[in-house]
Symmetry: C2
Subunit: 287 residues, 2 copies
């Protein structure tokens, strides 16, 4: 029997996929002249037909907690997934992580070419801001989403975290690894939580609560992913918190992040069950 | 004696430079954890200390025509220059145009490395949306700027134009070259004009007038640049309208774009002198 979490994750994935199909069609939007087919194809290849859509799920369920649902919520979720997909396309490039395969398929620069992959990433990042700025919400909400997304994705967020991760000379103690991961992966999860509350025009205190929820959830998720890599491949890969402290202590860290995330959900009672189920799913995955 | 155009261009460059210095400081903005020094340095290297700041000038003078000036106008000009600088950083990459030198200095991937250049471009594009979304203007204006900037820069604008330009198999007739240039360089100039009017909350008809002004100005500017390349290097470079039709006909085209631009300024009389001077400057440069 499917849990509420699994049902909602599936529903979020389907809604996000449909929105991306619509938003990444080849027809030019008003104010655009044309959308070159090759670039649209590379953008669609990067963002459609794969991925758990975990960040959209977080955004959509966070919005639901405060009573917001509908087109603007789904569009914001699609925009967030465009930013996530762009980061994967650029991270996979030869000059970065040089990965040929992602989710069992050739990476974008392998399926197309490097120039197209760079431009497809650029265009996915750019269209995310078009999507949130054009969403069916008040100007206040739209501009809040655009600013928060830019801060989460930029020099002080995801892009900055990737820069830190590439530093060959860094001395990775626990604090440095936590700070890097909080930027590289945590920032978009934190945005997902906060954006949901923002879309409902929830009080800033509640937006902050959901930002912190997303941050703890993202940290637990990243730790679980790193534990998985560690058990599968040994400590040969990138520096990670799990590799530094070992799988046992890393599992304890997942538990602590999960507890912090669940505590933030407590006031919502049963209404928080889908998000709580997501937290427990991450914990179960490493148990 | 300096013309009004030259005085205003110099003033716009100084104001934009000061805004970029402030916006690209190393101190994290609220909501950011930290700004990695190497990434900030690469962003600053890309955008500070060079360039005529022609796009900021157009935006600032377009705003002035409708009575807007001040911090929001300068910030929007700085954001536009961040987008322009990002496009140069990515276009210079080995997988794209593979240029080692720009404005007499090593390109970003030469001065730093390829991964840093990719991230610096990404982060410059991203911070542009933070800047316009956080500007000291109404939510309506800020969200209008963000949406228009995304459409101008994205798959249906500048990034799409760069994709078309990279197509080795394209058959470049006059219509195809015009369409490509209108996206690759024209879209940001058109944004500059429209954004100025938008910042003043001018009627949409006037925003559209200034968008068309920017488009004609951008076309004249690009043609003049291509004529310059053609005379200096012969037709060995990229396909261009000037190379296709030859320098004489290209000069006539500059004249026609300039006339169209000046006609759009006519209703403003003397108030349009700085922008009109910019148009005449481009015409004089190829005469």
């Amino acid at each position: 029997m499917e849990t509420v979490f699994q049902q909602r994750l599936e529903a979020a994935a389907q809604a996000t996929e449909a929105a991306l199909e619509r938003l990444l069609s080849r027809a030019p939007a008003p104010g655009e002249r044309a959308r070159p087919a090759r670039l649209v194809d590379a953008m669609r290849y990067a963002v459609l037909g794969g991925g758990k859509r975990l960040r959209p799920f977080l955004l959509i369920e966070s919005a639901r907690l405060f009573g917001a649902e509908g087109a603007a919520v789904i569009d914001a979720a699609a925009a967030l997934e465009c930013v996530h997909a762009y980061s994967l396309v650029h991270d996979d490039l030869p000059a970065m992580d040089d990965d040929d395969v992602r989710r069992g398929r050739p990476t974008v620069h392998k399926a197309f070419d490097e120039a197209t992959a760079i431009l497809a990433g650029d265009a996915l990042l750019t269209i995310a801001f078009d999507i949130v700025a054009s969403a069916d919400a008040s100007p206040d909400v739209r501009v809040g989403l655009a600013a928060a997304l830019a801060r989460a994705a930029g020099v002080g967020g995801m892009a900055g975290g990737q820069m830190l991760d590439l530093d060959q000379d860094a001395s990775w103690d626990e604090a440095a690894l936590r700070a890097m991961q909080a930027m590289k992966t945590g920032a978009l999860f934190a945005f997902a939580g906060a954006a949901g509350a923002l879309l409902a025009s929830a009080p800033t205190g509640e937006q902050d609560r959901m930002r912190r929820f997303g941050g703890h959830f993202g940290a637990a998720f990243q730790l679980a992913d790193d534990i998985d890599d560690l058990i599968r491949d040994g400590a040969a890969g990138r520096p990670s918190l799990a590799a530094l402290v070992g799988p046992e202590e890393a599992r304890a860290m997942v538990g602590r992040e999960a507890d912090a995330a669940l505590a933030l959900l407590a006031p919502f009672g049963d209404a928080g069950e889908a998000l709580a189920g997501a937290v427990r799913f991450v914990v179960d995955a490493v148990s």
